[in-house]
């Protein structure tokens, strides 16, 4: 849509996965996968069902610990990183199955995204006094900017459980953005959406990347979306990396075509 071409500057390597392997008992979910993500980049991970895409995201934000290999994030190499450490270092994510607090309002759900940035003591927060008060106001302001950004003003006070699926997905993105992440992991942000909701979500992802400079790694099945949005694409199949490159390169890659369409044996 934008008339002027986007001037995103793709920067240095932000995240590097080096020969990652992950096994659950005898099942090899990931086998010797290496790739890197540069800052300000939109990086897609695609692959057939069970290819290991979600496992890979889980490795990045520390839910799973790889049996071999290392993750380098912002120049520091971790063998094992726990999820809250990842979050503290600026990695936020959304989930394939929406993981919001259904009984809480949209506003409160997004506020939980700010938890790590709140420093007032428990007692002060209970009393809503002193630093807790000024802090709450500052955080609310930030959250309101995100509500405005994602155009969900009309559901601000609605409990999440009452919302349509597409909107819940948007709220989840809002909560992830509320953490002001440097690296945002999106697990199938557009699954189950209709065309209009998908278009909206694409715009929000592009805007977040453009406006906040957030680096984005996303898993998506809709090839149209992947090809439009991403700068580079990683293709997984049975836990192995079979392709990596620009959308055009990946589209022409014979191994990728075989994985998706099948080969005659």
């Amino acid at each position: 849509m934008s008339a002027a071409p986007s001037q995103r500057r793709i920067g240095d390597v932000l995240l590097k996965l080096d020969r990652i392997s992950l096994a659950f008992g005898g099942v090899k979910a990931l086998d010797d996968v290496s790739f890197e993500v540069r800052s300000h980049e939109i990086r897609a991970i695609i692959g057939p069902n069970g290819a290991g895409k979600s496992s890979l995201l889980n490795v990045i934000n520390g839910v799973y610990h790889p049996s071999q290999g290392a993750v380098t994030y912002k120049g520091t190499t971790h063998r094992q990183m726990r999820p809250h450490e990842a979050a503290r270092q600026g990695i936020a994510r959304t989930f394939q199955n929406i993981a919001l607090f259904k009984g809480m309002t949209v506003l409160d759900n997004i506020m939980t995204g700010r938890t790590l940035k709140m420093h007032a003591g428990f007692l002060f927060q209970c009393l809503y006094f002193g630093k807790a008060r000024s802090e709450e106001l500052a955080h609310r302001r930030k959250v309101e900017h995100i509500i405005d950004f994602l155009q969900i003003e009309h559901i601000r006070k609605t409990p999440v459980g009452r919302l349509a699926y597409g909107l819940q997905k948007r709220v989840e993105l809002a909560r992830a953005l509320a953490a002001e992440p440097e690296l945002l992991l999106l697990d199938e942000p557009m699954a189950g959406m209709n065309l209009e909701e998908k278009e909206d979500m694409c715009r929000f992802i592009l805007d977040a990347n453009d406006e906040f400079g957030t680096t984005i790694v996303l898993i998506e099945h809709d090839m149209g979306v992947v090809m439009d949005l991403s700068d580079r694409v990683v293709v997984l199949d049975y836990g192995r990396k079979i392709g990596d490159g620009s959308p055009d390169e990946v589209r022409r890659n014979q191994a990728v075509i075989d994985a998706y369409l099948g080969v005659r044996h």
Binding site: M1, S2, A3, D148, E153, H154
Partner: protein, 655 residues
């Protein structure tokens, strides 16, 4: 306001603005909900903003007589832009913000627009798309800078930057602003509003300051609107009503306008603001009522029973209590007061209508049940009549003299006359000056005595209230010479939830006959509750029980028509229920769902002939188009019924 002495007579909008800034500078002029918080600007701040913007536009080369397009949702900054253009002796041209680029191109070109103030990136993108076709359009000012960082075009300016440039511009020309304001005259064109163009291309309706102020002042005095009032500005700025209620009347009466956060939040914002003065088209009132009813279905049994019982009380005496009519029993008054505490009060609070003193509806016929519902729970809902050309100021219903099917007596300062052919003619100070660059159209709409032809047909009832029946060109005559207004009859039929569409015939005939389309949802529900099995629309439409149901509706309409001598002869003598739903795909309805009477009469000529030939059943084959583009035939034997006719009664009853 340094230097600008208040003018003796505030007869232009800029002078009114300065007057308010002087008299009530610290009071709220406009509010906008932004980032979840209501931000407010006082009259002084509003005047300062207008001043900075006007000077900024002047610095960019805006001259007297230039046209400034305004595109976006209701925002304080856009209302200020209207005022800024008027300060500089220019003309504001608001456009519908949801129009596509090509529609905008026509108006921007027709109106010779040189400057545009728009809300956001979305509107900028639209203008960039068509800028190549518009040689005149020189500068675009955008209010919301979001997403605009990468736009390098030199003709794009941020609103705040223009204001800053204006403040700098003024440093060396301190007299500039007051001089510009003092040069303005009340006979200058203040605004140009485009007609919707249902008949031909849109035309630019030019209004002077004097006309708009006359209409606004008339309305404000009529309903005693003053500085304490609050309105919610949520209807499109390009529509004459918003211009009157949110701009002209606000500047005349000095009340506060409130801009909602977005189109989706209007209901929530309305509840937070609690406007005292409110306007909505009938469909908004209808949607609200439907939502209330649906949510009451989910309420607990006790609450539901309470709700329906007290609505019964309200139906019996609510409107009378609102109109302070005598004859309401003390018991009913007591029950109504109890209902106010338990049911109506909380309901109005949820709807954001607790503080409403005056509410208006217009634009389409409002159903009597709907109208009565709001009045009975205590909303002073009234109807008005007007159009773009008349500044939406022709007839207003006065408090306590409300009738369901009239639009009230002529408003103060307005002369209304009925032409020989039934057309409503209007003369007042609040009329358009001209259609922009269309002297032939302008000449056409005025008669020799300066009356404006509204194009609507109507008549005065015994109490002097105007009743609008139809577009003048649709009105025909029965063979007896009596007026036949098909739309009027069709609307009356359509007020019944069971009737989805109706088509009345009668021009040049002895009697009136009608086609009915039943509402599949409502009638299907009715049938299910009576264990009446049906397979689809055609089957249901042919059932004799359904005919009985519809006959009841038709006869009620006949009884109503009989009370009015002008239309008493238009009672529906015979009717049939069509075997298929009228559909835009079959060209039977327009895309805006208006019936195409002539086309239908041709297509179903066999049925029309059967109605007038007195047959009781008629076979017909009909070609239909399916959604996938294929077509097929459906055939049916359509039954025809007679309906009871009532003798004309000279009886008059105010509702």
């Amino acid at each position: 306001m340094n230097g600008a002495a208040p003018p003796a007579v505030a007869d232009t909008f800029p002078r009114l603005l300065l007057e308010h800034a002087r008299v009530r500078g610290a009071q709220s002029s406009v509010r906008e909900k932004n980032l979840g918080i209501w931000q407010s600007w006082t009259w002084s701040e509003a005047a300062a903003n207008v001043r900075a913007l006007a000077c900024g536009l002047a610095a960019m080369g805006f001259k007297r007589g230039d046209h400034l397009a305004i595109i976006g949702d209701n925002r304080p900054q856009l209302y200020w832009a209207i005022a800024a253009a008027q300060v500089l002796g220019g003309v504001a041209v608001p456009l519908y913000q949801d129009a596509i680029a090509q529609e905008m191109a026509y108006i921007l070109d027709d109106a010779d627009v040189r400057f545009a103030v728009v809300e956001d990136q979305e509107q900028v993108d639209k203008l960039l798309e068509i800028k190549g076709q518009l040689s005149q359009l020189g500068h675009i000012v955008f209010e919301d800078p979001r997403g605009m960082r990468h736009y390098g075009q030199t003709f794009l300016h941020a609103y705040a930057d223009v204001q800053q440039a204006g403040r700098t511009f003024e440093v060396s020309r301190p007299e500039f602003f007051s001089r510009e304001v003092s040069q303005g005259s009340s006979s200058d064109i203040a605004i140009m509003l485009y007609t919707s163009g249902t008949t031909g291309k849109p035309k630019g309706v030019c209004h002077t300051h004097a006309a708009l102020i006359a209409a606004a002042r008339g309305g404000c005095d009529f309903d005693r609107l003053g500085p304490g009032d609050e309105v919610l500005s949520y209807l499109p700025m390009a529509w004459v009503g918003d211009n009157l209620f949110s701009y002209a009347q606000a500047l005349v009466a000095g009340f506060t306008i409130n801009c909602p956060e977005s189109g989706d939040t209007v209901m929530i914002d309305m509840r937070e603001i609690g406007p005292t003065y409110y306007f909505a088209p009938p469909r908004v009132f209808e949607n609200l009522l439907t939502q209330v009813m649906i949510r009451m279905e989910d309420a607990s049994r006790v609450k539901r029973a309470l709700f329906h019982w007290f609505l019964g009380v309200a139906r019996r005496c609510g409107a009378e209590i609102l109109d302070r009519k005598p004859g309401v029993s003390p018991l009913d008054r007591l029950l109504y007061a109890l209902g106010s505490v338990l049911v109506f009060g909380p309901l109005l609070n949820v709807l954001g209508m607790s503080r409403i003193r005056v509410a208006y509806t217009a634009g389409a016929a409002i159903g009597p049940d709907l109208f009565r519902f709001y009045r009975s729970i205590g909303v002073n809902l009234k109807q008005l009549y007007g159009s773009t050309e008349t500044c939406a100021y022709v007839c207003l219903q006065p408090d306590r003299h409300i009738k369901l099917d009239t639009v009230g007596p002529p408003a103060p300062g307005v002369e209304v006359r009925i032409a020989d052919d039934g057309e409503v003619l209007v003369r007042s100070r609040a009329l358009l000056k001209e259609y922009y660059r269309r002297p032939d159209s302008t000449a056409e709409v005025f008669d020799t005595q300066g009356y404006f032809r509204t194009g609507d047909a109507g008549f005065f009832d015994a109490d002097g209230h105007l009743k609008i029946i139809d577009r003048a060109k649709d009105v025909g005559k029965l063979a007896s010479g009596a007026v036949f207004a098909p739309n009027y009859i069709e609307n009356k039929l359509k007020f019944f939830p069971y009737v989805k569409e109706a088509v009345a015939f009668g021009h040049g005939r002895d009697t009136v006959c009608a086609f009915i389309n039943i509402d599949l949802g409502a009638v299907g529900n009715w049938a299910e509750r009576r264990n009446l099995a049906y397979s689809g629309y055609s089957d249901l439409a042919g059932k004799s029980q359904i005919y009985d149901l519809i006959q009841g509706c038709v006869e009620k309409v006949n009884a109503e028509l009989a009370t009015d001598p002008t239309v008493a002869e238009s009672q529906v003598r015979r009717f049939l229920i069509l075997h298929k739903e009228l559909d835009p795909d079959d060209d039977e309805l327009t895309r805006t769902r208006k019936v195409r009477r002539g086309f239908i009469a041709d297509k179903y000529a066999a049925l029309v002939d059967a109605l007038y030939a007195g047959k009781s059943v008629q076979h017909i084959d009909t070609l239909v188009k399916f959604e996938d583009g294929r077509s097929g035939m459906i055939e049916a034997d359509v039954a025809i019924r007679d309906a009871a006719i009532y003798p004309p009664a000279p009886l008059h009853k105010s509702a």
